[in-house]
Amino acid sequence: MLPQGKMAFLHELVKDCLQDEKAFCTVKCPFNLDVRDFIGKLQQGRYNAAYKTYQNTVGFPGIVSLLCPEPCRDVCALKEKGGSVSLKLLEAASMNFARNREPDQYNMPPKPARIAVIGAGPGGLACALRLATRKYKVTVFEKSGHIGGHLNDLPDADILIDDIRLQFKHEILDLRLNSRVTDISALDFDAVYVATGMHGDTFGLSLIAEGHYSTDRDGVFMGGSVTGADVMHAIAQGLSTASAIEGFLKTGRMNHFEPPATETKLTYSAINIIPSEAVRPENGKEYSREEARAEANRCLKCTCDACVRYSPLLGYFRKFPKKITEEVEVSINPSSLDGEATLATRLISTCNYCGLCREVCPKEIDTGEFLLRSHYTMREKGKMPWAFHEFFLRDMEFSTGEASLLLQPREQGELKYLFFPGCQIGASDPRLVMRSYDFLLNNFPSTALLLGCCGAPADWAGDAPSHEEVLKKIRSAWSNLGNPAIVFACATCNLMFRKHLPEMKGVFIYDLIARSAAIPSIPGNKTASVFDPCAARHEDDLQEAIRSIATRAGFRLEPLPMEGRLAECCSYGGQVSVAHPPFAEYTIKKVINRNTNPYITYCSNCRDTFARAGKETMHILDLVFGLEQRPQPTVSERRENRLRLKTMLLKEYENEDFNMEMKESKLTISSGLREKLDAGMILESDILTLIETCEQSGNKILDPEKGSFTGHLQIGNMTFWAEYRVLDGDRYELINCYSHRMKIEE
């Protein structure tokens, strides 16, 4: 049954996702400028839009772009990788190249609340500007005869003061110059901001610890240079206090607003840092449009997106874990009126369960495990389309039924090992299992063999009852044999045992081979890359053993960018090919093009998937047993191979003739049609059953022109159609074949 607690835990974990964390530069900026947004607009050449973002954030862009000491440079991820991004120059570029630098004019009704700002320095005016823009009645008291406070003492004073005038262009402000406030209690206003500047009057007020810019007097706020802030922070505090005042007017609470963030949980390790040389303005002063764009393009727009960058699923859908959990949540607990909307069904069924998302996440968020649990829940609720997994569940039934076998060694006494090759290696080529078992018996004569399936298809399908049944079978066989150690040849089997049969510990045959077998040398000096299967990402010793075998065989190994802990799924994991064929193709294409070397792998699904896609790939056992050149079997041949393996084993070790019924030999199929059946995952044995059923019942349709018959049969939930001609006796020529999921209500 479902561990609901675990599901809740995973849900909780997703809350730690760093996707929404602010960039390093943003939290260092007193204004919290959304640099990712600002830069994004510059990268597109949208100078006007970038300028608006900047203007809305800093209030006085002309002042800030001139006076900002660029604290962002200290934290830029490119600081030591070519030089920090020159935000100050980019901000200036946004101003220079914006079509219109005028502030926007908002036609909003005036608000009745009256606010007093004491001090017409940059901080006080920033607060006044923001409130005036929001149409409050703002009165500014300034003791001197001019605005701008200490800005007037700076070299570019005119430019700075002009910017203030420009930003107030559309706003109504009651500016009272030469008006010194001496008694704050004499002011009749709804809120007051004290921004009297360096060494200015504090009116006996003190800031309170729990409120930002709040004083111990209700409705009175204080900030800027009078509290020790530099000019940038004074402006930023003025803007923030405007929000604090608005919060106070609405709620009566002094700290009802979110102050600018100063910290981020983002880590540099989560960022894909691509070094690049800083762009320097040719004129030594300002960027040209091209230079600005080039510099903007250097920016990494730091965000934690490791999962989306690495995980095939999250990358394909461009969805972060939070979004995924939201969609899954509404699929499991639909909010639609009929309770039927299951938005994320295909998304849930597309996960390879390869574990890469958790591996690369700084918070170790296991989106794959979350999706697997969701799969179980959806299946339990009957909301998961049966078609996504029926083929694989039938295949598992075949492997654990008709094709299963338990062989005990001739040698009596306590068993050392139970060889569990899994269902796929024998399906790929029976000789791989035959020779592996032969190797084991030669080295460890007391080794038994169990042909079956580890239950992965049931686990991936979220089918708890079938999964439990398979595990029960394995557990019972193992305990009847006296609990021997397992010899694995498949990393997925090993992973499944670790998760679900932890009491059954074992070793990999590859470790045993690396230690004791003579490895045939390959002719020439060949280069290859080891493709680690995703199920082996944490098997360091195994990865080492494979590399040792390949090197001893004479291969020069070149690493893949994604190997070891970062191993990728070949697309087979989760058996997603029926639920989402384009995703499977996308994954295969991506991983086979990681480099041009032939791959050496130790998962037969990786090997067969890549070989089918035209990538030269060999299984490590092919190498050990000299079987490099072999075709990849069709879905029908995979079943035949399992039966063939059983026959070969019984003959070799039990001297028993097992009559394998090769139904398929009764069918004549062209090679083109055979490929079509393989691609459509249609078993030739099912088609023969269909034809024989139609022939027996007479339920078939004649096409008089072609002289062919067409019949159909529902096997499991799937309906198959075959067009065929009757040859001699009980042999048939298959002309065409197709299938559908819809049931005909006959």
Binding site: A341, P385, W721, R741
Partner: protein
């Protein structure tokens, strides 16, 4: 459009004619006209219909 071809029910020796037929998938039911034996009700679905409309509806229901 699919070319109309003559199809005969082998058992009844009757030509198939378009008739209302019910289908179901994932708890949803619907009907359409497909060639059917007027006597025993044996149906015929061409590959064109299966790969076209039927596959489309299947996908839609899976994503619903």
């Amino acid at each position: 459009m699919e070319e109309k071809k003559k199809l005969i029910c082998f058992k009844c020796n009757k030509e198939l004619v378009p008739k209302k037929t019910d289908f179901s998938y994932l708890g949803h039911t619907f009907f359409t006209e497909i060639p059917k034996c007027p006597q025993c009700g044996l149906v015929y679905l061409s590959e064109e219909i299966v790969k076209g409309r039927i596959s489309e509806v299947e996908m839609q229901l899976e994503d619903k």
